[in-house]
Subunit: 365 residues, 2 copies
Amino acid sequence: MATPTNQVFIAVIGAGGVGKSFLSQLAALAARKPTPKLSLCYISSSKKAAFNSEYSIGIETALQELASSSKQPLSLPQLADHLAAAPAKAVLVDNTSSQDVADAYPLFLSRGISVVTPNKKAFSGSYKLWQDIFTAAATAGSKVYHESSVGAGLPVISTLKDLVDTGDEVTKIEGVFSGTMSFLFNSFAPVEGSGGQWSAEVKKAKELGYTEPDPRDDLNGLDVARKLTILARLAGLPVESPTSFPVQSLIPKELESVSSGDEFLEKLPGFDSQMEETKSAAEKQGKVVRFVGSIDMTSKSVKVGLEMFDKSHPIAALKGSDNIISFYTKRYGSNPLIIQGAGAGGDVTAMGVTSDLIKVLSQIA
Amino acid sequence: MATPTNQVFIAVIGAGGVGKSFLSQLAALAARKPTPKLSLCYISSSKKAAFNSEYSIGIETALQELASSSKQPLSLPQLADHLAAAPAKAVLVDNTSSQDVADAYPLFLSRGISVVTPNKKAFSGSYKLWQDIFTAAATAGSKVYHESSVGAGLPVISTLKDLVDTGDEVTKIEGVFSGTMSFLFNSFAPVEGSGGQWSAEVKKAKELGYTEPDPRDDLNGLDVARKLTILARLAGLPVESPTSFPVQSLIPKELESVSSGDEFLEKLPGFDSQMEETKSAAEKQGKVVRFVGSIDMTSKSVKVGLEMFDKSHPIAALKGSDNIISFYTKRYGSNPLIIQGAGAGGDVTAMGVTSDLIKVLSQIA
């Protein structure tokens, strides 16, 4: 049922890189498309929040209002009450990677509040949470969109949904789903030239800001496993969790428990020979090694880890920190539908969030 | 304003390859998602139509009902009257490539009837028709979607819209937009090996059903020019028509006016040396020749024709009859957002139509 007013209230949790980019896109959107009227009614970081009884925060001035606010963030149930009491429909934009916020999506959705987010946690956690989220949305008629949870702004989730919703049969999904892993392997084992030493490439990637503060959070493969979990579920495999299928970690056993990312980087050169052997083995076959995820719908298997590719394969030819995702389906036959481009970064991640918001607005306003 | 009932009436014009694939996808969709209730109320070919005062045609039996019908198609104004009088909202699905039907979109849209189509004619004809269509939709609140007008089911138009709507700045769009041209050049000038003779490849493509009945309708470049016109307009360039920018035709001047496609194919070998020279010139630079379209937003220029690419370029590495479309934008930087895959065929074209219909349903029902 459409709301009688032509206004929508937006609450934003998270004011980091993605949150800031999103606010700037939201300001431009509100200026360019005055209908429906977009009213920012809540903004919070982990420590503070800005909101008021008029449900009105300036979009352009939100970050200043947040910085100068003396209010603590509302608890999630309080925020749900606040939004449910808004004078028109409300959308929660979760720009965090918080499990707590993710766990509260069923609450928001069941109260008619739509959710838009790049947060992977809700869709790659327990299968029960996944079911609770979509059941709550279906029951209450609220919407939930999460394009940026895989491949940032690349149209990965919308394309998979379109394939499934129009009755195509997905047989396999394969790709490079991590900008960090893409950068590391494109530098370590390039198609042309010999590439660098593994530990040196990891160090460089960290210095360039391409890794998490502790690079082990990328190298353990869990980020890729989370994305595969989301895609597998959308394709129809009820994957229980991101640890319920084989995930290859690139952290040497001996370094799993060292106390810090710095100590890890210091000791990593001692293990370069392992990665060097993998690279040589591939080279001997005229191939290169890449860190990929794949979902085989026929055998119902999901896996994440190192694989070898011909140098002419699109996965081998990837550049920089780009992602690539190939959808093999019955309709598309032997040549897959391929989507490629930057899969990380504040602006492109926020783009996925903003385009999701536009889709929600077209349905609720 | 949402319709009070939870039913939507669908009228389908066109029962060729795309039309048949669409009906089969529509039947599966109606069975899988019973809400809103999808009622097929009209189906027509160029000669016949099936419809009744109950607004009810069996989706599964539509083609038989059409074959055994003795009714002539309604005129387009009559069809608009018929749909406007339906007991709930209606969607017109135009699975033809007819200019007449395209010219009537403003009429349907202005009467609240949404339009979904793979027909390029409406969006690549005169700029006035383009404006009339979107003005009528905006005024009446009806929807118009045409994903399959470029790249069939590939998410080309939705991605470009998302980029523009979220405020990214498109700087360049480049790609191979014709399955026929893709097949011809991937065979004529492959990355590995020497390829075939030009006229022999054209003949083969025709025999395999990859060309129009008269291959000149592909070789004149107009199909690609129409697609470029659509993308340029969506990106913000008010291109007047598909003949208002440079389009290179691959039809030798001397063969433009021969009377039939067969005569053209018979005489084409006499002109093979021209294409052979182009291929050799590229080879001397270690490149291959491809038939591409490009839109440069900075210089506001659109062009269609032959260009040379390094053998490692994604456009050179294309396979079979795949399309590839690269979006260069401010946010995506030097590595474009790339979409690749089959850009022609009944099933994938119908997929774009069906997914558009799903988007329209989510907004009007």
